[in-house]
Symmetry: C2
Subunit: 230 residues, 2 copies
């Protein structure tokens, strides 16, 4: 069950940012298409995501990208980079308007490095991310392309507004999903034949969301496990 | 640079298990082939590995296994399960004799849940594991099978004793490396033609370790990043 916006804010302020000041309460909004984290930039802020949807991917020198997953709702970004002191290894792009609270690494240093509550929360969160990451490793091996493709559309679809999905080039999607171009084209055709989607150039219309959800087997790209527990 | 056995023990006792008793100092040895962690068993012990080599993999219902990686030297097992309170998602098998210190979750609860030093160490370790896990996700995509196969043999080879490697069935290896049986057979043939290995039934002899190391591109299955920092 996903929590309401207020419940998430309340959770962040009373369980994580326990030593917060008014200044930190500022909520920043990022719009669709904006990058919150860019692989090439140094990381010096921890982000506490309240709402919205994110796409996490890795870029290669040759311009190819690989999908690492989608994140919906509450999430923490920059924790791994803060504690490991290593550079970020992925790019985080907004898929659906995101609200978040930013906290500079200096403030974390000063006010949270000794906070048991903060550290306990982060450590639990990191453990869950690690399990999710290990599960992700297996997505390409365990799930058929049809399931991954249905999950991909499922993640990009906005159930509330029911708008169409604008997709990247098929070459980009095949990189993202780790399949051949030909295999991708076949799978899209199969979804069209099943009347689950309609495709006009770069626009995908979801015709049968129930069936899409079924085919996505609960969406293999979004791990709801930790959301249920928070 | 890998640390000496004494340095690792000293690191564990003075930086992690800071509230240790004599009882905890007991070092347990596991032999080649033994399972330290079994996917199907509940986890209630944290393991502080001092030396040896481990193979981490995931088993499927159909008997197939997928390689998640090899771990050499110092490592912590059970931390993710302790903090996330979730079941373990992989099996850990000894490849080369392992020495470790076991600490029951109850003792961690009693004596370490309030230890800043313990928690700081674990949190840094988890962050590094998470980065490594994300890098692992990409191994099959980024590296050619030849590189993965060379890394696989590299991990199983014991430089000191220079003994031959007893391998599983080729079907098992192809599952492990996420490739087809045919592709694996071709790659093994190519290593034989390059005079890097010799194969007699299930026995692999390393003929040219320098070349194997080169082909493995520094071994894509073992992340040395955090070892260097510890």
């Amino acid at each position: 069950m996903s929590k309401s916006r207020n419940e998430v804010i309340n959770n962040i302020l009373s369980n994580i940012l326990v030593n917060h000041t008014e200044e930190e309460l500022q909520i920043t909004t990022y719009n669709k298409g904006q990058l919150i984290v860019n692989e090439s930039d140094p990381m010096h802020i921890m982000y506490f995501v309240i709402s919205g949807k994110l796409k996490v991917y890795k870029e290669y020198e040759n311009g190819k990208t690989m999908l690492l997953g989608f994140e919906d709702g509450f999430n923490i970004l920059g924790d791994v980079e803060y504690y490991s002191k290593r550079d970020t290894t992925c790019t985080v792009e907004v898929i659906k308007e995101v609200e978040l609270i930013k906290v500079d690494f200096n403030i974390i240093n000063e006010r949270y490095s000794d906070s048991k509550q903060f550290n306990d929360y982060i450590i639990k969160q990191l453990s869950e991310k690690l399990i999710d990451s290990q599960l992700n490793t297996r997505i390409n091996l365990v799930y058929k392309l049809e399931t991954r493709l249905a999950s991909y559309f499922y993640s990009l679809y906005d159930e509330e507004t029911k708008t169409t999905i604008e997709i990247d080039s098929l070459a980009d999607i095949s990189n993202n999903l780790g399949c051949s171009y030909r295999h991708l084209v076949r799978s899209i055709k199969s979804l069209i034949e099943l009347k689950v989607i309609r495709k006009e150039k770069h626009i995908i219309t979801i015709l049968d969301f129930k069936k899409l959800k079924e085919l996505s087997r609960g969406n293999v790209y979004e791990n709801t496990s930790n959301k249920e527990e928070n």
